[in-house]
């Protein structure tokens, strides 16, 4: 009786997700097996051609590029995010609030606006190039924009908070006495970090990595604005299929494959980090 009434609390979400997420997903799955008509309309005729098309080396290459960018984004986010989270966790409580606010402020500004701000900074007559030329360090403007490097910069910038916050939380939850115990047993601060702090905050790193990886794999605004035409990622291709090429069935097939691929990779990542734990546990 009681549990039944408790279950009602989940109802709004279930209805919302069912109608607006699960249903469209099923629709997409169905769509991906249909045919595109000559004028971009959907023809109700079963085919698996859409999936076969994905094996075209062209798309394989884009998938590969997307994965590389996503992995690099994740790695750089850890490298930048962990030290920052560590620094914040060591501050006074009042200062921590300010720093966390600073980490989150970019979220309050429209995503597109922020991406264009980066364009203003990096373009050939942009802030960086003007400054370097004025200082006489360079003669010709550097091409800082519209390459895979600039995409990476934009991605890491955009997704960094997703890495910082979970790591910060796991650092905050860590019992400080464990560190003292490590010092007491003869660990230098560096060794104590490596053998105690880092393994104990691994859950934060794993959560952050999944959040960053999943977000970057489907990202199309950043590569669109900062990457130019050359560095299209799979997100851009999918966007094109739906908006310009008007090939909804193929776009759906790409989306489904992308989704399965990222699920597979997260599963592998999870297995790998879990296996690491088991191995440490029995060594």
């Amino acid at each position: 009786m009681k549990t039944k009434r408790i279950k009602l609390l989940a109802l709004p979400t279930l209805v919302w997700m069912g109608a607006l997420f699960v249903l469209p997903m099923i629709l997409m799955l169905v769509l991906s097996f249909l045919t595109r008509g000559t004028y971009g309309q959907v023809v109700y005729q079963f085919t698996i051609d859409n999936y076969i098309r994905i094996f075209d080396p062209l798309y394989g290459l884009i998938f590969w590029d997307t994965l590389v960018v996503a992995v690099l984004t994740t790695v750089f986010s850890i490298l930048c995010g962990y030290p920052l989270a560590y620094y914040i966790s060591r501050l006074d409580k009042s200062k921590q609030q300010i720093w966390l606010l600073l980490v989150m402020i970019p979220f309050w500004i429209n995503f597109l606006v922020r991406s264009y701000a980066w364009v203003i900074i990096l373009r050939s007559q942009g802030v960086v190039n003007t400054l370097l030329q004025w200082l006489g360090i360079i003669d010709e403007p550097l091409t800082l924009l519209y390459n895979s490097g600039s995409v990476l910069v934009g991605m890491v910038y955009t997704l960094l908070p997703f890495m910082v916050l979970p790591i910060y939380v796991s650092l905050e939850q860590m019992d400080h006495r464990k560190l003292e115990a490590a010092y007491d047993l003869g660990a230098t601060p560096l060794k104590a970090f490596w053998h105690v702090t880092l393994p104990m905050t691994k859950p934060g790193v794993v959560t952050g990595s999944i959040l960053v990886f999943v977000s970057s794999i489907g990202m199309f605004v950043v590569p669109d604005v900062m990457g130019g035409a050359k560095s299209a990622l799979i997100g851009n291709v999918i966007q094109n299929q739906f908006l310009s090429a008007r090939d909804w069935p193929f776009g759906s097939a790409l989306s489904i494959v992308l989704m399965l691929l990222s699920m597979l990779l997260i599963l592998l990542y999870f297995k790998a980090t879990q296996a690491g734990e088991a191995k440490e546990g029995s060594a």
Partner: protein
């Protein structure tokens, strides 16, 4: 006996307020010294200064004759058993215990030999592959001790190591710890707020109050000859009789009860029984003294004397030698 730890006029202040006023103390090799006091008395701060987690505001700590001022915690030749054990949750029992030897890069064969020895000593051989989460409180406690003693420290610091355990387990572990200390011959500095624990285990007890050491002596001395009013009332139960300028303390078990009209020369005071509390081996009898608001407590052991009841009029007395005179 050789002095292993010497505290030379050390003092600790936090944000300008004195937590531990300056004092000196020598601890002998192989000694079981307990820092006993109520919470907030500075005993943990003192222990943490010795371990190197806090720096004394002034004064110097010597380990085996060498000053420790510029020696970080990880280079001090002593180990600590933490209050909640502070075991590493991501490591097995074995890895936890080996941590110290690994940090000091002791060679593999030696590590293995000492591990087996210690595991057997604390009876954890069977549980060596488990993680701390899979252990009971008492077992975790053994891991914490094993993790410390495997390093053969000169001094073992214990910060309320039994505090998180239930009463029965605490009792049996008290004995085990005492035996461990005897067998290993390591100096123990033990922090607790539990006087019974302190009594049962220590060679010497330092009773602390508000950062000061009130008295440092053997358990019997502390109990029988307290030097301050705080020690007299903090350790065990006591009756304090105030007179001009001084106080007289008499332990409840020294207080004798008599029917009102016998041997009147032994009587010191008379009163009425207000409460009798039965505790099995012992009855606690509370007596309101005639003409005052003061209450006296007397302990009566089984089969001893009279079957006293509430509202009986009694005469009470004690021998002169059981009086402890204190300034107050």
């Amino acid at each position: 006996m050789k002095t292993i730890i010497h505290l030379d006029t050390i003092e600790k202040q936090f944000a300008g307020s004195v937590v531990v006023p300056p004092f000196s103390l020598s601890i002998e090799e192989g000694e079981f010294l307990t820092l006993l006091g109520p919470s907030g008395c500075g005993k943990t701060t003192l222990l943490r200064m010795i371990a190197g987690f806090e720096e004394p505001t002034s004064g110097e700590i010597y380990l085996d004759g060498k000053p420790l001022a510029h020696v970080p915690a990880y280079q001090r030749d002593m180990n600590m058993v933490f209050q909640q054990y502070a075991l590493f949750p991501h490591m097995t029992v074995e890895q936890n215990i080996l941590f110290g030897l690994k940090m000091k890069k002791v060679d593999g064969a030696e590590q293995k030999r000492r591990l087996e020895e210690v595991l057997q000593y604390v009876q954890l051989t069977e549980l060596r592959k488990r993680t701390p989460k899979q252990l009971s409180g008492g077992q975790q406690q053994r891991v914490a001790i094993a993790r410390a003693i495997i390093n053969n420290p000169k001094v073992l610091l214990l910060d309320e190591p039994l505090g998180a355990l239930d009463y029965q387990l605490r009792k049996s572990l008290q004995l085990e710890l005492k035996n461990l200390q005897k067998n290993l011959g390591i100096t123990f500095i033990y922090v607790t707020h539990d006087q019974e624990e302190a009594m049962a285990m220590s060679d010497r007890i330092a009773v602390m109050n508000k950062g000061r050491i009130e008295q440092i002596a053997s358990p019997a001395e502390i109990y029988n000859r307290p030097q301050t009013l705080f020690v007299a009332t903090f350790i065990g139960e006591n009756n304090i009789f105030k007179a001009e300028g001084s106080c007289t303390a008499v332990r409840p078990e020294k207080v004798k009860l008599y029917p009102i009209d016998t041997e009147s020369d032994k009587h010191k005071k008379t009163g009425r029984i207000t409460d009798v509390v039965f505790l099995g081996n012992l009855r606690k009898i509370y007596i309101r003294l005639d003409g005052t608001e003061m209450s006296v407590l007397a302990h009566q052991y089984a089969n001893e004397g009279f079957d006293w009841q509430v509202d009986h009029q009694v005469a009470i007395g004690w021998s002169q030698t059981d009086e402890v005179v204190l300034s107050c």
